[in-house]
Symmetry: C2
Subunit: 335 residues, 2 copies
DNA sequence: CGTGTGCATGGAACCGGTTCCCGACCCGTT
DNA sequence: AACGGGTCGGGAACCGGTTCCATGCACACG
């Protein structure tokens, strides 16, 4: 495999001159630079970032830690991050730490310590104090998306607000028996996305004077999860709610499928609102609060680049905009 | 940041001895080895793979090229690959080449040339001759999943066979007006997954003497794609088909949603069969031919490890097993 | 008792780049 | 004609590891 020495030899210059010509530092005459560039192009030379990083300390590589790649939100974010990093000439090393997976500690203890990247992006991850400590000890900038990492810049949406907005939409239509489908134990109303979305629902109900009749069916943030919860809600014949505020679009769609299957009309008998702007939302005419995970991925990369280039050192938190999109799964309740 | 020299100093030995103790090569007395290991553990030392790779030539890193991360099949595969690589102590560098994206050539020309990985895994990718050439010039083993790369080992399922099996199931139930929803232009019956699945349908129809009445509605391999195609099929009132052979489960589910929405009973009026074993299949009681992408990911990593360790040099192709799972979206046609 | 063998260790070269430092050269000033 | 500052390019050190080679030593053997 060809190295910089080969380029130098072909161009008839020394290694150092070749390096200067290629990286653009120091004085090189235009003529020599061209000769070096030509030589490099001719043999298809690309510098080994590995070797360069040894002396420069910049690896041109970023570690991304993510709990799922297979859920819509995370997949979108990852694609956005990938694109943005590529545009900045960075490679992306992926660490998939599935919740409950044994490999999680191995990643933090072993893999992250290999000094292989210039920075780290964590996505939707709640870190333990030990993990935080380990991350900090690497002495590389850390930015996070969708969850707060202490002392790190981050991009997120206001999860409480989106869920509140969705619920208020239902209340505004005249609903009072509204159930929230989603995760989150009631003790944990801040630490997780699940929890914050439950919080938003509770706040909206409270503010509307409906604090006494809140309902919460726990569910995984998946379509099958929403389906199971939906079955439960719909089969509750005595006092069936007239509306569902779902913690995510996948949950909402699952609930809709469950309702239709049982012969319950949406939105005539049951209104459903979600959160996300999932690619399925349009197909199901789902009313939802849209966020744009792909753009959030791009934004978090920008934040990391700022940190890498020493711009605005103090941690900032960027709140990404969201908006209510009313389609046809929500309507006034029947008298 | 601590280096091997620090470890050596603390343990009171030379750099070379420390290196031998840590990597396990050459002679080191048990006592010294322990002292070195203790010193390393004490300061949380992990060798920089970067620096080591410079001399050993092994980077402990694998490049993965994938067209989507956001589609079920690809997401599953990626998670399987990640797990398996981690278990072998390899990092994963992700290259997401979305079809039609301008960055594709940049990845092949620039990023892949950085000599950063020991091997490459391509997933569901049809390479142009130039790309193939570039890959080969890197002089690193390449293995592929779900598509043939000339001269490379690969893992795949028999796409023709699965689609044939699904279609034969419908034929076996007595259906004759069967439509295939999926991609693939009829000229391209081998090069792509779309094409091969169309081929399987055509073969099955042919063999059953139904070659004259094949029907094909093109569609993207997504749920919305299937929905759109489903609407088209169902609204064809005069001679509506009695069964759909979908190219994937996502397409199948989309078609089912479309049918139900239009009031067409599944399976009473319309049977639907898919291919994949998607996580949604069970929820929709979908009859399908299951494959296991996660396991395929693990298998392709094994193949790569074989190549990296010089075992069985000649390219092998592994056909992964599949099986028909009959649920309740298929039934005999009504008289 | 001299010598050969095998284990244990340290010194130094090396991987492929970047960068520091220094000398050569050119050109305009004094 | 001597001098100084700005350009240009080469030699060598360095990044953090691994590995080759030489050396020291203990022990067994003839």
């Amino acid at each position: 495999m060809s190295g910089i020495s080969d380029v130098a030899r072909i161009a008839g210059v020394s290694k150092s001159t070749a390096s200067r010509a290629l990286t653009g530092g120091g004085y090189v005459s235009e003529a020599t630079r061209q000769r070096v560039l030509d030589a490099a192009a001719r043999i298809g030379y690309v510098a080994s970032t590995n070797a360069a990083s040894l002396v420069t300390g910049r690896t041109k590589n970023v570690g991304v830690i993510i709990p799922f790649v297979n859920r819509w939100y995370f997949g979108e974010v990852l694609e956005g991050v990938e694109d943005a990093l590529l545009a900045c000439d960075y490679d992306l090393t992926l660490y998939n730490v599935r919740p409950g997976s044994a490999s999680r500690s191995r990643i933090f203890e072993h893999f992250l310590a290999r000094k292989r990247f210039d920075g780290i992006i964590t996505i939707g991850l709640d870190l333990s104090p030990a993990e935080l400590e380990r991350l900090r000890s690497l002495d590389r900038p850390v930015v996070s998306l969708g969850a707060q990492v202490e002392g790190a810049s981050s991009v997120a949406i206001d999860d409480v607000a989106v869920s509140r907005l969705a619920t208020e939409h239902l209340i505004g239509l005249g609903h009072t028996r509204i159930v929230h489908i989603g995760g989150g134990r009631s003790e944990d109303l801040h630490g997780t996305v699940h929890g914050r979305r439950l919080r938003g629902y509770l706040d909206a109900m409270e503010d509307a004077g409906l604090g006494a009749q809140t309902l919460h069916v726990p569910s995984e943030m998946t379509l099958p999860g929403g389906y199971a919860a939906g079955v439960q809600v719909v089969s509750n014949l005595r006092s069936r709610p007239t509306a569902i505020s779902a913690a995510s679009d996948e949950v909402a769609v699952g609930a809709i499928v469950a309702a239709r299957r049982t012969g319950v009309q949406v939105p005539a008998e049951l209104s459903v609102v979600g959160v996300d702007g999932h690619e399925y939302a349009e197909m199901f005419s789902l009313t939802t609060v849209e966020q744009s995970p792909r753009e959030q991925g791009v934004a978090v990369v920008e934040l990391l680049m700022d940190a890498l280039e020493g711009r605005h050192a103090s941690p900032t938190t960027l709140l990404h905009p969201t908006r209510l999109v009313v389609r046809s799964t929500t309507a006034r309740p029947r008298e």
